[in-house]
Assembly symmetry: C4
Homo-oligomer: 228 residues x 4
Amino acid sequence: YQQRSKTWNVFREFVGTTLFLFTNPLMAMDAVHECVPDPLHVALAFGASIALTCVCLDGVHLNPAVTLALVVGLRVSPWQAVLYVGAQLLGAITACGLLFGMAPVSAKDKLGINELASGVNLYQAFSVETAVTFQLVLCVLAVTHPKSPFFSLAPAALGLSVTLGHLIAIGFTGCGMNPARSFGPAVLTLNLENHWVFWAGPCAGAILAWLMYDLLLYPRWTGLSDWI
Amino acid sequence: YQQRSKTWNVFREFVGTTLFLFTNPLMAMDAVHECVPDPLHVALAFGASIALTCVCLDGVHLNPAVTLALVVGLRVSPWQAVLYVGAQLLGAITACGLLFGMAPVSAKDKLGINELASGVNLYQAFSVETAVTFQLVLCVLAVTHPKSPFFSLAPAALGLSVTLGHLIAIGFTGCGMNPARSFGPAVLTLNLENHWVFWAGPCAGAILAWLMYDLLLYPRWTGLSDWI
Amino acid sequence: YQQRSKTWNVFREFVGTTLFLFTNPLMAMDAVHECVPDPLHVALAFGASIALTCVCLDGVHLNPAVTLALVVGLRVSPWQAVLYVGAQLLGAITACGLLFGMAPVSAKDKLGINELASGVNLYQAFSVETAVTFQLVLCVLAVTHPKSPFFSLAPAALGLSVTLGHLIAIGFTGCGMNPARSFGPAVLTLNLENHWVFWAGPCAGAILAWLMYDLLLYPRWTGLSDWI
Amino acid sequence: YQQRSKTWNVFREFVGTTLFLFTNPLMAMDAVHECVPDPLHVALAFGASIALTCVCLDGVHLNPAVTLALVVGLRVSPWQAVLYVGAQLLGAITACGLLFGMAPVSAKDKLGINELASGVNLYQAFSVETAVTFQLVLCVLAVTHPKSPFFSLAPAALGLSVTLGHLIAIGFTGCGMNPARSFGPAVLTLNLENHWVFWAGPCAGAILAWLMYDLLLYPRWTGLSDWI
């Protein structure tokens, strides 16, 4: 409900990602209690966090994979996308830094990092990350279309989509679905083992979702003006 | 928000059913952990999945029982219904095929198949499947009526209805409520034992719900024009 | 979205209560598994069930305590209220009869009856039933006011209120909050021990909520026309 | 949907806080069963309770930290704020008094008091209380802005925000997030150990959220008229 400059939007990406990723304390606490966190608990917290961040800061991406899908669909300029992803990664590091300061000692070496569960191989992790990001980005493209009847309920749909992704993937990889969310803890704990999966999977899912949406479901084939 | 050809709608049924039934990985994973999946986890995942698929692809049926209720109520032509059901079954097989490729070895013989729980007989399974599909189809008929005040919130109501069905039936049959959802894993694991229950129950529930809705609750008796 | 006769509304009360109380199979099943049902499972199922019944059948009461609050506030005529309560009790018996037919043998002596948990005395049970019905009826009066901004979301608010009631009271009494819901299983299992609490508590809560709403929160004192 | 005097609003704060804090019986009951309450159970109950109280009594604050954020942002006069906070504390004591009367004997010494979990130090408790109140107050400021597209869904957003706060903080402090909610049980059980944390944390979070909202996200810098 007010015009904003492009610089402002980059700043909002930073604030939004920091806010959103602050949900991690609960996982740090789970490390204190030395128990596997309840998947429903984590899934509802991440979904609620995304929904509320979208309510407070309308129009933020919060996720490099979402930004990628919007840039390949020519909805966002490449330069703007680079700044957005930078702000998202900076926000993730800030959130994890704050978290590192307030987490109990026993939790400082995890900080809610994404890891492959035992018995899950890299190919399965990649497939699951691709699948959950696919449904998230498809949902983003569908609800942010200005003519969508769900445009005004976008935060609720996106929160539900993030919750669904966690319900599906949490047993495989802890559910990345967002390279920034995986990047923060990986950098602060200096644990980059298999970290590429949490970039490659979401990016593949985002591009597949864009192809599905723009080429098959709501084709933009009728003219060049559809794209610009 | 745009006109679509009938062929397109059949394609959308295929895509939607594939998307919706991709929630199964979580059950495959539960098989890895060798524990009974938490009913709330499964119920919320299926409900969220249906709601989001309806948001992304407005107007899809995703369920042969729903298509049956619409065809007996003369809302959809028989020929169109046959194509829709075909697309739904093909989508279910595609989803389970993808899932088969990425599931851990120990889960490849289940794939989230619907089975009768121990201590549940065929008559109870049939009754429960009829009951949960009855409430789902009644909800579909109520919210898709163009004059319904809940028309714009249809995805939320349908997701809630699917969640409710799972909360009721998951302890009896794993909750079919959708012949396509039961068909996919049954075909891929070649386990068709008691499979007819997951067709007969939902179809009986759909026809009962149609009779209840069109003849009793919102009667279409005043003239022939009500029906065509 | 269409006018309905008063007889029709009585019939709709019967259908709605039967539909709503069909959620009980899940408790019958819990009896099979010989474990305490998860409170969240039961609370979400009852909430979803009420919300969906209100979506399918707009304007039904489904609860003698709600009908009582509307009759003392002169919103419904006494004679109509008697017919409504009769239809609700008949619906409850029908739902429990259907349930009795399809429940496993070991569950036939419970059918989801409301009982005082061990360590809970009658005074506590009465207080808790009064409290949860108070918040439900206050919510009914607030969201069904035609000028309420939440009028169109009434089913969601009522479902949430029923869920909240169960989250609060399920550890004390199994959560009655609805004399019809308690009456059905009590009659079919011929177990009327302490049954009066599940009438007295909800009725007291309904009258207190009506006094709070009509006399304090949104006073109807300015003239006789407010009441008729 | 009707004008109300300022005195009336103070009375409504009292009623609303009493209503909202009546959710505590479930924690008293958990004390009977001598088990740690399920975090999801408590989080959903508090969230639903806030959402329904906001539906029944539109415009109430229910929380001294929220009132503080509104008074520093010059949205509420200081004198009105003092009366509101007084009414909130009185409401909290009333709710806990009613609860004390109906709680089982073994639960009378707790009444759902906020305490630091074992292994959590004061600095961590303060940080977590600040963080969860920060996101709550940011959400309050965002959804109550008259031009917000989520204005009509404010109760849902606030309920979600309270649920999220509990999911994050319940393992650290039981989740205060509201000095009135912490004050009631602390006074009635005469246990004021570390009680200042449940005032200092939320107040710090509220002021940070106000600075973030009014100075950074939606700056009111263009003129004096923005503030008055």
